[in-house]
Symmetry: C2
DNA sequence: TTATGAGATATTGCATACAATTCTTGCCGG
DNA sequence: CCGGCAAGAATTGTATGCAATATCTCATAA
């Protein structure tokens, strides 16, 4: 029986997951300060643990870690946003390219069930909708069987949520469920060409929705922020 | 003068760089144990610092971090190797796609100077040759101006070194300098199509050289290792 | 009123001490 | 001679304390 061991539910991991979820749910909005002490006290662990979690989140680009100034939820610039979606487009196209025509019936069922859940959430609980949409892309990457690819896609999807919260229209569903359905259909019939094209445009559509710059001042703000960062301010 | 501040020469970073270099230079061969205490003593820092560096290296896939059992240099499986090169091919093609025809004369000169250094090192100090070949790819990614892309390519190039050391023919130059030259030429004349094709095949060639399985037993070994890992052994 | 600067406060950087777990060694029984 | 077991050693996981740095407060002077 392939049981392995319960993967050592380390405290650091727990804190990491809590913070990540809080960020993705926008309970912690972009730019929010993340003092080690306060977090540790709230969660009942020492600063050591919190520090590890923060370091990991920093590595994944979800928070920024300025020396002697503490951590805060990352505020990706518009350029970061564009870059993230550029890489996402490339990698997720690679995912579907490897998946077309190679999905087992079980895997197809998994995907369809997920999309159905998305559809249901879309009307019943719009909050979870965003999360589910992201998880669809992660699920696709997982099915590719390529762990490295999975890791990068997961990271990029997470960061996309930040982008959306900063520049997207509030509460806009970031993925159209219909596009997910079309994609699954193309994958099922092994039409790699169409599937890649669909994913390509799907990501473009997400990027378009996410990079709306709901606030015109934001561009200016980012421009300044970029210069400020170069000067270490 | 855009000076910024001296980027806070944190001790953790220093240890991280030392260990990373040691791994990439194969001073620490794959599978080598990395006891926190010993490293800390050697480098004159506390375990706290070493731990941070190890966590970061773990995040980048250069070491493995087994709970309560310590860290060791990662031993990527052949499948990991294939996955890494698959993603590299996709991302580095994206790099040249964005670079074709957009390189300034200064940037072109930088690339040519680098290749020249590679060529010189190829005969004079074959050890540095491998490192320089990797840095060429990182340099290209940097010129793309896409920070996310740069981060991923850097990571993948590093991990490729590990793959090469495990499965490649010893001391084989992992990049043909001539291929780098052709690529630069295509980029200079803005021939995106050709440049992408060249990069595509270049990565394929690297993968072929890196995944030779110089030792036939290795496949078997990896197979066992994969199963063992599932059982938590 | 505004700008400046010194002191106070808060937060991070780092090292050390202790607890928990795993690995080693040597003994004992079969 | 071999296998199992228990005590000890070694190594990692976590918490805490001190030092260094940044931030804030507020008084003082132009």
């Amino acid at each position: 029986m392939p049981k392995g061991k319960p993967p050592a539910p380390s405290k650091s991991d727990a804190v990491y997951r809590v913070l990540k979820r809080a960020i993705l749910d926008q309970a912690l909005t972009a730019g929010a300060k993340l003092p080690e002490d306060a977090i540790g006290e709230k969660l009942g662990v020492s600063r050591t643990i919190v520090r590890q979690a923060l370091a990991r989140l920093n590595g994944e680009g979800l928070i920024e870690l300025r020396p002697h100034k503490g951590a805060c939820v990352a505020q990706p610039t518009l350029e970061d946003g564009r870059n993230i979606f550029t890489v996402r487009r490339s990698l997720e196209t690679l995912v579907v390219e490897g998946l077309a025509g190679r999905l087992t019936p079980q895997q197809l069922h998994l995907l369809e069930a997920h999309v159905e859940a998305e559809d249901k959430a879309r009307t019943e609980q719009p909050a979870a909708s965003i999360q589910l949409a992201g998880e669809f892309h992660v699920l696709l990457a997982r099915l590719s069987g390529n762990d490295i690819l999975l890791r990068y896609v997961t990271e990029l999807v997470s960061r996309s949520s930040l982008i959306l919260s900063l520049y997207g229209r509030p509460h806009s569903p970031d993925c159209a469920v219909s596009e997910h359905r079309e994609l699954i259909a193309a994958l099922a019939r092994g039409d790699s060409e169409t599937a890649c094209g669909l994913m390509h445009h799907h990501i473009e559509a997400i990027a378009a929705r996410a990079l709306l710059t709901k606030n015109p001042d934001r561009e200016f703000h980012d421009l300044l922020a970029a210069y400020a960062k170069e000067e270490g301010l």
